[in-house]
């Protein structure tokens, strides 16, 4: 009895989580303009999407920002995770608590803090400010992903490398990096997804000259339900779903 109830509850909640997504996806292929009845299968909304130049441009801008931000965050984050695990240094506690604060800070707080800093430092709002902001909120996730992998290491391997005369850079490059590579890749994928989906921080730190996809979608969605929005939303969902599944498999595979 309890068993049935338990499985029932689990499936009910998971079904409720996926139901709106499923409805949205189905409707993006609905030929009827208003989603209240099924008008047959159609790809016309996707076709319309690919003829919308402004949208394509925003999508390309988003891709550029996300790739650059995810890559820089992954480099800085991986090095930081290695340093936090491997070295003792002054301010280590401070560094890790700053990572912690950065991860827990509500996005809206981070958004205005970054806006103020960009204005103060005279960084113009657009591509550069977006990239800096996205790196900042992705960084803690990379650090944590890589750190949780590195902490299960056999430290003797690193001592062996040192005894054989490898310097720090070489140890990192030839011993540590190959071992943590799945976590690094997973960190990159998650950063990319976070960056591609972000609305709150981007809404504050972008300028009128540089439009990105989530903000474009936001302004379309605010106007109301439209079949084109369903299509672009389905595409965005599809991209992040694939990336997340891949990144989760990367972490899971070697455990």
């Amino acid at each position: 009895m309890i068993r049935i109830f338990k499985w029932g509850y689990l499936s009910l909640i998971l079904a409720l989580i996926y139901l709106p997504i499923a409805v949205l996806i189905v409707n993006s292929f609905n030929a009827a303009k208003y989603g209240n009845k099924w008008g047959g299968f159609s790809l016309q909304w996707y076709q319309k999407l690919f003829n919308n130049d402004a949208l394509i441009e925003a999508a390309l801008n988003s891709l550029t920002v996300s790739i650059v931000a995810a890559s820089v965050a992954t480099v800085i984050g991986t090095l930081a995770a290695v340093a936090l695990h491997r070295y003792d240094f002054k301010g280590k506690g401070l560094l890790s608590s700053m990572v912690f604060v950065a991860m827990l800070t509500p996005e809206i707080v981070m958004a205005i803090a970054l806006l103020i800093v960009f204005i103060t430092l005279g960084i113009s709002l657009g591509f550069v400010s977006l990239v800096i902001a996205h790196i900042t909120f992705c960084l803690p996730f990379v650090i944590i992903a890589v750190y949780s992998r590195i902490k299960d290491f056999d430290m003797r391997m690193l001592s062996a490398a040192k005894d054989l005369g490898a310097n720090e850079l070489r140890t990192f490059w030839e011993v540590i990096l190959p071992l943590i590579l799945p976590a690094v890749l997973s960190g990159w994928l998650l950063s990319f997804t976070l960056s591609l989906d972000d609305v709150i921080v981007s809404a504050f730190v972008t300028g009128p000259s540089y439009e990105i996809l989530p903000l474009k979608v936001y302004s379309m969605v605010k106007v109301g339900v439209s079949p084109e929005v369903n299509a672009i939303s389905t595409l965005l969902l599809g991209i992040s779903l694939v990336l997340v599944v891949v990144s989760q498999l990367l972490i899971k595979k070697d455990h």
Partner: protein, 290 residues
């Protein structure tokens, strides 16, 4: 373990430290300073330092919005806890392999676009949405219920987007619970309810606080959820801050709200540390399973 210094070490530590100092520590400091300055139409902010912005948050006009926003975020947090706790307990009781699968399905939507998922809820709640159409078809109602653009819709949306943040810390707290405690209590004659109150609840309190922290704080800032589901009336703190920064251009006032959010974060972290000192276990925030 100590390793001799070198360029690599210097570089690895320095890069992240400089970045976080410049784009996390320094900006937050600037927000506090801005909140104490005066609004200036020409140069956005100017001296002298004062507490006016904080006093103005107590203005009747804003107090109402503030209270409403806190109420909706708090209700969303409580709902997440009430839905998430049994959910996390059900996951923990599964065989290990199924636990991984159930968690995986919980985590995947967490990483997908939350704006798009919020938009998807419009389909469900709208006048032409699934709920209304089913009820109409069943003959239970004659006219569509107004579900969208209500406080209910905002709370539902917040729950929907934020529930993984509640379930994950609860799960990792429950997973660490030693089942022998339950066996012992049962042998001594404690009922299931008694065991839940006396064992499960206190020992998972760090997880509960962590989950609440990770739902409540983002909930207050998610302006697009109230925009899409709440309409013009049901605003969240995020909407107020956004208006102050992007439309009204009253930075000190917007910053004051933001500082208040950070103070709330501080209070909740303090609660979390107290709870985990009490149980000697940390449940959730430090775990990185998402």
């Amino acid at each position: 373990m100590k390793v001799n210094s070198g360029y690599f070490r210097f570089f690895a530590i320095g890069l992240a430290s400089v970045w976080l100092a410049l784009f996390v520590f320094f900006p937050n400091l600037l927000v506090v300073i801005t909140s104490l300055l005066t609004r200036d139409p020409s140069a956005t902010v100017s001296l002298p330092f004062n507490l006016n912005s904080y006093w103005r948050t107590l203005d009747v006009l804003y107090l109402d919005v503030l209270w409403n926003s806190i109420k909706m975020a708090a209700l969303a947090t409580i709902s997440c806890l009430l839905i998430g706790f049994p959910f996390a307990m059900a996951i923990v009781s599964l065989p290990k392999r199924w636990q991984t699968i159930a968690l995986f399905f919980m985590i995947v939507p967490f990483w997908t676009n939350s704006l798009v998922r919020t938009y998807a809820i419009q389909f469900i709640l709208g006048n032409q949405g699934i709920i209304n159409k089913s009820l109409l078809a069943l003959g239970l109602i004659d006219t569509p219920l107004q579900l969208l653009y209500t406080p209910f819709a905002v709370i539902l949306g917040l729950c929907y987007i934020l529930i993984p943040f509640m379930v994950l810390p609860l799960y990792s707290a429950l997973e660490k619970l030693d089942p022998r405690l339950h066996f012992a209590a049962r042998d001594l004659g404690a009922s299931a309810f008694h065991r839940f109150i006396k064992i499960t609840l206190p020992l998972t309190s760090p997880g509960i606080v962590a989950g609440c922290l990770m739902v409540l704080l983002p909930a207050m800032g998610m302006f697009y959820i109230s925009d899409l589901l709440g309409g013009a009336k049901n605003l969240l703190l995020g909407n107020v801050i956004k208006t102050q920064f992007l439309n009204t251009r009253d930075w000190p006032f917007g910053s004051a709200f933001s500082v208040m959010l950070m103070m709330l974060l501080g209070v909740m972290l303090w609660l979390y540390y107290r709870a985990s000192r009490f149980t000697n276990k940390q449940g959730g925030i430090h775990d990185s399973n998402f």
